[in-house]
Amino acid sequence: MTSLIAYWQRLSGHRRFAWITAGFIILLGLVLTYRRFFIGLGDVTNLTDEFPWGFWIAFDVVGGVALAAGGFTLCFLVYIFGYHRYHSIVRPTVLTAFLGYILVAVGLLYDLGKYYNIWHPIVMWNPHSVMFEVAWCVILYLTVLFLEFLPVVLEKFNLIAPLRFMQKLTIPIVLMGVILSTLHQSSLGSVFLIVPNKLHPLWYTPILPLLFFLSAVMVGPAIVILESSLSARLFHRGLETPILADLARFLQVALLVYVAVKIQDLFVRGVVGELFTGEYEAYHFMGEMLCLFFAFVILAFRKLRTNQRWLFTAATLVGLGVVYNRMNVAWIGMLRGTGASYYPAWTELATSAFLITVGMVAFYFIAKFFPIFPELEEEHSHA
């Protein structure tokens, strides 16, 4: 206890403020958790029979999975394509993806009416259901992420023999991870193929699964850049700016491919006119595209791309653009077709903030006590 007080007194004002905010959000979240599980979904959400999926599905699950895409894109580049110069950022990225997926799974528990039946898809099959595929992908990919993260734990506790064994399995595990991620990212797009009469034509397209996959590939490097920049500040460590600027080139190519396919799709389906109707859907569509446009402009200039702040801004814009897209598909684009007037209750927003805060605190402690960042690792062994 005294050491805790001493630790507190050593903290800067910023960090004290951050911890107090986090503590407040977590306390509030615990109260909301009680209300959700002991009173019901109706007590904390604005969901109705007309609009049964709200902010938790749109943001926590559909958005959350997209933001956990850093893991599979980076592992693909490093282990399958042999870009070993990115090796130093693999561990924090895998940790982010692992925590991200755990949060998605927990978010799902909050949203499922009979959450204790979450294991049912393992034994009760319906291969026609996209949700069945989603459930299997979450279960299997969580296992893969656990295996990808396991070496860190083994290393921490000096378990050499199992560590060597796990290292031999690296490639097959990464292969499985990449395939499962491909399936899972695209399947979240397939989920909305079943609502052709409810989802607005700007977003409803037979290639929704392809668009979800391509945007996940695009947002992957952006998340790696964001996560590296943030943890550099948090742990006072040097930033791998050359590596990140290099990664930004991948981001730029992936961004071009995604935007090209998305715009071409509008023309092929003949719905370009929907952009100029002056309705709110048109503005939200342009909103998600503008985020990507500004990111593209920043990334196009070498001077900006190699500048830490501008690169961070571009990556943020890409992340925002993808989350905006997921919200549009799962929420904004569904309003007119269902005739509902849903907007999230503050309790829904606060519960999502609670889950994210818990995830960030978990990342902080794991990164502090486990060998995640190579140079922090050295500090550990010198001490």
């Binding site: 042999g82 009416g113 039946n117 979450i118 292969l175 193929l193 037979p206």
Partner: protein, 260 residues
């Protein structure tokens, strides 16, 4: 019965007595005071009125039900007799059925800690026992008839042909999303009663099955492709390393030779 069961609702005959609603509440042990203007967790069917026309809302019991196709645990299934039924014990509460239903029928118990889906199950137990649904059995004017789909469709067509002034020339449910087991006749255009006319004739489950059926291929081809790429790249890097170290060796040997 010859072929799967179906219900024919003739709105022009309905007198709005509400006997079907009462029979339904009683048959399924639903509360006696359900909402009168909409469906929710307290009722499986509701009789409404628009201008001078009574009409009814209930589960359409699709031939190829979207709700059953999207349910990850097969808690909703279409029986051979025709009803689309629900197993609350299997349900995980994802509400994909509610999201996907083109008619917006399944309702949820939002106020309960452990909620279940509520919707008409076409009196599955009565139908399996060879009886009519409660609503059809109780209807005093024949506005709700129960029988094989072929027969109900024939009756509907005959009525429209015989009384073209009485009916709009449309059987709602004949072709909607691949056809439904509930068929409707009306004197007022269906869109005026709030029924969607834009659903199309394609069964919605086909939309996802075209994607889902490709998954095994993606896994196998993708696995081989990625594994191959990784092996080739790794192999080339190893060879490059060997060449470099061989070169190093060669240079060292030459230097030694020069010294001697």
């Amino acid at each position: 019965m010859d072929g799967p069961a179906s219900i024919l609702l003739d709105f022009t005959l309905c007198i709005g007595c509400g006997a079907c609603e009462d029979a339904c509440q009683e048959e399924h042990n639903l509360p006696a005071d359900p909402p009168e203007d909409r469906l929710d967790y307290r009722n499986y069917t509701v009789v409404l009125k628009k201008d001078d026309q009574y009409y009814r809302k209930m589960c359409m019991h699709c031939e190829e039900p979207t709700c059953a196709s999207v349910c990850p645990v097969a808690a909703l299934i279409k029986t051979e007799e025709g009803p689309v039924i629900y197993h609350p014990d299997k349900c995980i509460g994802c509400r994909y059925c509610m999201m996907a239903c083109p008619f917006g029928i399944p309702a949820y118990e939002w106020h309960k800690p452990i909620p279940v889906i509520r919707k008409c199950i076409m009196c599955n137990e009565r139908v399996s026992a060879g009886k009519q649904t409660a609503c059809a059995w109780v209807c005093p004017v024949g506005a709700c008839r129960f029988g094989p789909r072929e027969k109900m469709l024939a009756i509907a067509k005959r009525r429209i042909a015989q009384f073209p002034d009485r009916y709009v020339d449309y059987i709602y449910g004949e072709k909607e999303v691949g056809g439904t087991s509930v068929l409707m006749l009306s004197g007022t255009p269906f869109e005026d009663l709030g029924f969607r006319m834009d659903l199309g004739e394609q069964a919605l489950p086909e939309l996802t099955w075209t994607v889902m059926s490709k998954i095994p291929n993606i896994v196998i081809t993708g696995g081989i492709l990625l594994g191959g790429i990784s092996w080739i790249i790794q192999r080339r890097m190893d060879i490059e390393k060997e060449n470099l170290s061989a070169l190093d060796e060669h240079i060292k040997n030459q230097e030694k030779g020069g010294d001697a």
